[in-house]
Symmetry: C2
Subunit: 646 residues, 2 copies
């Protein structure tokens, strides 16, 4: 097959539509023809492709999505939490409109909020001994939220930073990041997923752990060596409340994405480099890689029993999850289910039965039966690969899978630039020999090269099959040109009917990877802080003033539109100043800002919030501190004069 | 009148609709009742307000705007350039959809692009002697673009940073910031506007200057003093090409917004604090403040004649534009036209005839005839205030004005949360005594507290009256709740018919202030760089390698999907490393990223771009540098192993 070809399975009877394939002849495919393997099921028909339905998608009957664009004053009906990619934040979208209503800074400073500027945010972000921020870059990939009884409970969301192996937690009451944990001995922290309940205690029907997949294998401890056997990856469990690392598992191969079972017993990660290659050519020599399952209860028993080691300076217990040490099923901590070539993506179906892995370099999806994996751990299944109940062809470059709660799965095909809708039970029948079982339900061209997708409520027991978002990695010609850096194209698709209907293209700053979409009723945000939440709160303007202790000076200020409590304050050159600002305004949306020219200080205080900054008064002169957040007709006049005497 | 009242002029016959006024009873108004002055024209009728047309805006006849939301695959028809507020960037919207298609980092680091990380961007941003960035915060307010023959020519846009008095230029071919200039002796740099042609040379029919208004008066030079007479503001002219400061004008009062005449002869700034007060109560004691005009040609003659001083370390010539020194019209460099109480906003009408100033604390707009201001400078007008051809009541808290090119003006009313559409020539007739002249054409409630507004092509001779955007400072209940920090609400309004029609609410990250909207045909962006644009470009992968000169090491790498030219490179602990990366991919949208875990390095290279970073290899170990920008099916496998030996 040539690189322009699209794989068509026996499931398709679609006419060839090659026109739109002009975009496929790009470097996104270059060289891939030689590495894409076809399984022994079905014969690819060269040159055939699915019908194009992009721009000219017809209105299909049976569809429910109306009011995609809310009229002025109408609210969206779903929240979307998007990873912000390299901007290091979590983005909040109103759905289905796709309007960005918030960015929650996590790993990267945010000059609006003062994230990375205020003492409070710097404590969350982490600083070096010299007081500067430890990191100012990030690469967020995955967003997932806390569960209760299999649905989101509105407490927390988590997001990862791949570059520096950090996990951030976001409080969903105030939509702020409150804790960040750096995982020890991990490089390329990729997938995350919270557990959905405790594997042992039935009363704990909510999230208490977050699982984190380490992607890059490194020497452990990290001393340079060319001995490949010294390179390993770790799978990490973080406590959802304390955000401390509970334990890690040393594994063979790497971790990519992560998924968890609804019963709390299993976590899983797909592995694209079981070869343990260090060059990319070496990473795709094997025909099959793996989906690696973790038996959570057994791992925690092993930790409790002291069956662990530690690595380098880290005190975190590390148990042995390698293949060689886990051959005996009834004692195994881990189980390696084989899946075809460099899989990317593992997702748990909302009927709680299956984990689905996509082949990436194989055109297949593999359906793994959760109950059979548990049977293997119990010694009741001879071979772990017998947990595979289907392995069917979908198209070229399958990556991630979402669900509609009606038995259908939706998988992105990176190379085909398509979403394929397929029926899981029909796929199982087909895999079992029923060649009349039509598992492919529909295909939709997307623009272009889709990565993650997710459907409304897809990863919960309440999957509702309303609509779906897909993160396309290339937008090419879909938006007005804005120079060499293109936006990504998040496309929204109506999945309420038999056929998928493309609703809209939505440009976003590169590059979100993953996201979740859930009903707005599941969240109960607070829009005004409580003064008592802040230990430094200045509760009365009368407490304002300049308090000197040698060279250490504390400046206490309050804000009430349109004035700061101090109209001016005097400092001496060389003072180490901590400025504390409490916003005493109580009215929703009445935020103030505080900027000090030439002192690199700017931050906001929301209603009833307190924030502080510390700086050295090293430049003499008059500096007009001013409110940066429009608050009142006299906002421009809202200033305080900082006088630094030489 | 009480604080809930809306001012209604004799122009209105609208029924009272008090329901929506519940939002007006907020601190945004608190205390204002005592400071809002009514002029002697018209009598405010308590309790009467304009009809609400917010959420339930009816379709009005005669409107042209269709396809507000482009179908998938369709392109927007206008560009919008928005200031990014405290995020320190310029935002690019597709209009009329309001979709954000790009953010151009300027004053604040951007972890996606590597802005503030790469050597190239750090040079634009400016560093301290220790190599750290001089500033990492910003507060952008105004965006304006270069002109030719009264319309945009697609070369440059400029944006200001109020906090640190910086002006950034954006190249509109590549949509990147290429130069930043810090204005000397300026604090609170607020308004900007490019000139539209040269005041003297008719061949120069395009922008060669950018005018910058200094808002906060400070001691000049900045040595703390309580002597108010030592406090002054400066009006600054920057060369559009070199971005060097040409000259400054010492003035009485402050500068707020800036506008320029179409003939190139005049620049103007409105002044809200002619009292030179340092506390906000002092800033509103006078009943009239000013719109200050600058005679550009005369100022440049004075500079050429050596009639200037310099301030402190700055070498920039500063001419004397104070009132006392400019009483003689035929020699004056400046002219102070009086306008009512704390004006905010000055805008030049597209018919080239008028400058319009809004009263903010006066319910009026003042229309100033450009030709009469020129007559005064020529000694042909007795009193400069005779240049005022209208001063009419519009409503409470008038701020900024846009135009439809058909003789109508649209002014935001901050306190009334309205836009008022009014006819300029009718207002002049009314002012001249024709009480039957109905100058108010329509009113539209907006949600809530509007600041800037702008119409499509409004500030050009090609104003087309299609649609208008308005930046509402409070969104309150208009979007799903996302915690204490609300988005701003940019509303889009159809102005193609007699009545305004609210099209949509559009949430944005706080807080854009100003923006321009123009036809997409005016821009011709480039989407692939030229290798030769970068002096460090590595033109052949064979040039890659590690080049050592003692402790100084240069690492040269190229990228071509899905691989970096170096699969690994070795360093020694303590090396000072400059890593140069050229993206040899030529295909549009094929951007690569380069992240080094734990080294706080992440940046992108667009097609044919070269970028470099410099860091000290202070941590021994194996570090997987990886591509952060999805580029290929084997993107995850695209890595280079950095080995730092102890």
């Amino acid at each position: 097959m040539t690189k322009q070809d699209s794989l068509t399975t026996s499931q398709d009877n679609a006419p060839s539509v090659l026109g739109r394939r002009r975009f496929m002849n790009t470097a996104a495919l270059a060289g891939l023809a030689t590495v894409v393997a076809c399984t022994d099921k079905g014969t690819p028909a060269a040159g055939a492709a699915a019908p194009a339905s992009g721009a000219a998608a017809p209105a299909a009957s049976g569809h429910e999505i109306a009011g995609l664009h809310p009229k002025p004053g109408e609210l969206d009906t779903y929240y979307g939490l998007w990873s912000g990619g390299h901007t290091g934040d979590m983005r909040v979208f109103g759905m289905p409109s796709g309007r960005e209503i918030h960015r929650i800074p996590c790993f990267v400073p945010d000059a609006l909020v003062g994230w990375g500027i205020t003492n409070e945010s710097r404590k969350v972000m982490g600083t070096k001994p010299d007081g500067t921020l430890k990191y100012t870059v990030g690469d967020t990939h995955h967003v997932h939220a806390s569960y209760k009884d299999g649905n989101y409970d509105g407490r927390y969301a988590w997001i990862n930073d791949k570059i520096n192996a950090r996990l951030a937690r976001v409080r969903l009451d105030y939509f702020i990041c409150d804790k960040i944990t750096e995982l020890p001995n991990v490089q390329g922290f990729h997938g995350i997923f919270p557990d959905k309940r405790d594997p042992v205690d039935p009363k704990i029907n909510y999230t208490t752990r977050v699982f984190c997949g380490g992607e890059f294998s490194i020497p452990l401890p990290n001393v340079p060596t060319e001995d490949g056997s010294k390179y390993h990856s770790l799978f990490t469990c973080v406590d959802a409340e304390t955000m401390e690392v509970r334990w890690q598992v040393l594994i063979d191969g790497n971790c990519d994405l992560v998924a968890t079972s609804y019963d709390g017993k299993l976590a899983a990660t797909n592995q694209y480099n079981t070869e343990m290659g260090v060059h990319y050519e070496d990473m795709m020599s094997a025909e099959r890689d793996a989906c690696l399952f973790f038996n959570v209860a057994r791992i925690e028993e092993a930790v409790k029993a002291g069956k662990f080691k530690t690595i380098g300076d880290s005190k975190v217990p590390v148990v042995d999850g390698t293949r060689a040490s886990n051959q005996e099923a009834t004692k195994a901590l881990t189980a390696y289910v084989s899946v075809p070539k460099n899989p990317h993506g593992v997702n748990a179906s909302p009927d709680q039965k299956y984990f689905i892995c996509s082949g990436k370099l194989s055109p297949t999806a593999t359906v793994i039966d959760v109950s059979r994996v548990l049977e293997w751990f119990d010694g009741k299944l001879a071979k772990i690969d017998d947990a595979i109940v289907a392995e069917v062809e979908l198209g070229l470059g399958p990556l991630h899978t979402a669900f509609d709660g009606r038995g259908n799965a939706f998988t992105t095909l990176f190379l085909d630039s398509q979403i394929v809708k397929w029926n899981v039970e029909a796929a199982i029948k087909f895999h079992n020999g029923d060649k009349n079982a039509k598992y492919v339900v529909d295909r939709l061209d997307v623009q272009y090269q889709p990565g993650h997708l997710n459907a409304s409520q897809s990863e919960t027991v309440a999957a509702d099959g309303k609509f779906l978002a897909v993160g396309c990695k290339f937008s090419k010609d879909r938006f007005l040109p804005v120079g060499p850096l293109h936006p990504e194209n998040e496309q929204f698709i109506d999945i309420s009917g038999e056929k998928m209907v493309l609703l809209q293209d939505h440009p976003v700053r590169p590059e979100p990877h993953d996201f979740i979409i859930f009903k707005r009723e599941l969240l109960h945000p607070k829009q005004v802080y409580a003064l008592d939440d802040f230990s430094l709160a200045i509760k009365d303007p009368k407490e304002s003033g300049v308090f000197r202790n040698g060279k250490k000076v504390t400046v206490k200020i309050t804000s009430q539109a349109p004035a700061f409590s101090l109209r001016e304050f005097k400092l001496k050159k060389g003072d180490e100043v901590t400025l504390i600002l409490t916003n005493l305004d109580k009215i929703e949306d009445l935020t103030h800002g505080f900027a000090i020219p030439k002192y690199n200080v700017n931050f906001i205080v929301n209603p009833q919030e307190t924030a502080s900054v510390t700086f050295v008064a090293d430049k003499p002169g008059v500096f007009w501190c001013y409110c940066t957040h429009f608050c009142h007709a006299l906002h421009l006049e809202m200033r305080s004069r900082m006088i630094v005497e030489a």
